[in-house]
């Protein structure tokens, strides 16, 4: 999911950066003092989880856990994911600084959107619906992020269909894994501390 330096065209980089700035503004406003430790832990989880990679065909993909972050943090997923990507770019040269805006938006925006869509079912009384909501919250953001990556690459000159198929196929195992992982987390948090699953997503 990390788009490297030198791949995207300038307009795509600028638009991606501007959208991420908007998300960061909204996200930083949403973080209250008591949310800071939780944001730190989730940034650390995102930073580490992205380093576990799955080798598929000519490419490789990795755990993202953006759906889970969106579910717990809401708009604050933007700063959390931004910090993780920034450190990965600076310390390990994963992705890059010029593509930071696009990469952040591609991962954080679907997380916020899907968390908003399934927030009610995840927090509802019906355990089965919550499980379905958890699975969708984990898996759908990956699919949407993959679509956005393909879209950005297309705008920068690559053929959409080829890229979209490659991105979809390479992320399919991660979609399933993240869906199941998120389901487990939702079921666990519903029992242990359900308040964590209720972020303020305006």
């Amino acid at each position: 999911m990390h788009i490297s330096e030198g791949v995207l065209s300038l307009p795509v980089l600028v638009v991606g950066g501007a959208l991420t700035l908007g998300g960061l503004y909204k996200g930083l406003k949403a973080i209250k003092d008591e949310d800071t430790p939780r944001a730190a832990i989730l940034a650390a989880v995102f930073f580490t989880a992205s380093l576990i990679h799955v080798n598929i065909g000519p490419s490789s993909t990795h755990l993202i856990l953006s759906g889970l972050i969106g579910l717990i943090m809401g708009w604050a997923a933007f700063p959390v994911i931004f910090l993780g990507l920034l450190l990965q770019g600076v310390l390990f040269s994963f992705g890059g600084l010029t593509t930071l805006g696009v990469n952040t938006f591609n991962m954080a925006a679907p997380a916020v959107l899907v968390a908003w869509l399934f927030k009610r079912s995840v927090n509802g009384k019906n355990s089965s619906l919550a499980a379905v909501g958890g699975f969708m919250t984990g898996s759908l953001p990956i699919l949407i992020s993959g679509f956005l990556v393909g879209f950005c690459l297309t705008l920068s000159g690559e053929r959409f269909f080829t890229v979209a198929v490659a991105v979809f196929l390479s992320n399919l195992p991660i979609v399933v894994i993240e869906g199941l992982f998120c389901t487990f987390c939702v079921q666990f948090l519903r029992k242990v501390r359900p308040a964590i699953l209720r972020p303020q997503i305006a």
């Binding site: 430790p37 930073f47 799955v54 910090l83 490659a166 390479s170 894994i177």
Partner: protein, 210 residues
């Protein structure tokens, strides 16, 4: 009873997720693509990888000189791709595109490349007054030919013998650009905690002042 079965289901689900992760991935601590290249005789060879054991297979490799694409090809199963060496001397940029926006490049400086092998012109056959009188003309020609042959043999042999060293030298230049170590990952986690700690401290100080 219901909560006990729910707990068992959750545990089974968690074990299932871990098993799926274990079977579908190498669980390698890395993400990023890398490339290095070296001259091997009249060829430029490249090695592209995600980790030292996880090679880029079927990735697109390009050789650029002054932003012009001179050659393009695909990596094999070992992540390698070789191209005929460009005739025009100059710095080269080797680029690998491993799909989904994964891209890396490597600079191969002209100064680091051995001179191109050229067709050695046949040694001039000395005739007439300039020809050494003590050496018959036919013997001089035979000696010249055999000298060329010796030169070619030595050159080919050196090329074969030095090839691993050229590769190792190029690989050593990418020593810092590899998968992160555990120490670097822990360092990154320290940064995250530090940044949020600072935010927490500043926000707390502001509250105390107010």
């Amino acid at each position: 009873m219901a909560s006990s079965s729910g707990r068992t289901a959750s545990r089974l689900l968690f074990i299932g997720v871990l098993a799926l992760m274990a079977f579908s991935s190498d669980l390698l601590w890395a993400h990023g693509v890398y490339i290095f290249g070296w001259a091997e005789g009249d060829q430029i060879c490249t090695d592209s990888y995600f980790t030292r054991t996880d090679k880029v297979q079927g990735g697109v490799v390009k050789i650029l000189q002054n932003d012009q694409v001179l050659a393009e090809g695909q990596t094999n199963d070992q992540g390698e791709a070789c191209f005929p060496r460009p005739k025009v001397p100059g710095d080269l940029v080797l680029v690998v595109e491993a799909g989904e926006g994964h891209r890396a490049d490597f600079n191969l400086r002209a100064a680091d490349l051995p001179p191109l092998t050229e067709e050695t012109p046949p040694a001039p056959v000395e005739t007439g007054a300039e020809s050494p009188k003590s050496l018959p003309q036919s013997t001089a020609r035979a000696a010249a030919v055999s000298l060329d042959e010796v030169r070619t043999i030595v050159r080919d042999e050196l090329r074969v013998q030095l090839s691993p060293f050229s590769r190792a030298l190029a690989e050593s230049q990418t020593a810092g650009a590899g998968p992160p170590s555990l120490r670097e990952i822990v360092g990154g986690l320290g940064w995250i905690l530090g940044v949020f700690g600072l935010v927490f401290f500043l926000s707390g100080r502001k509250k105390v002042k107010n």
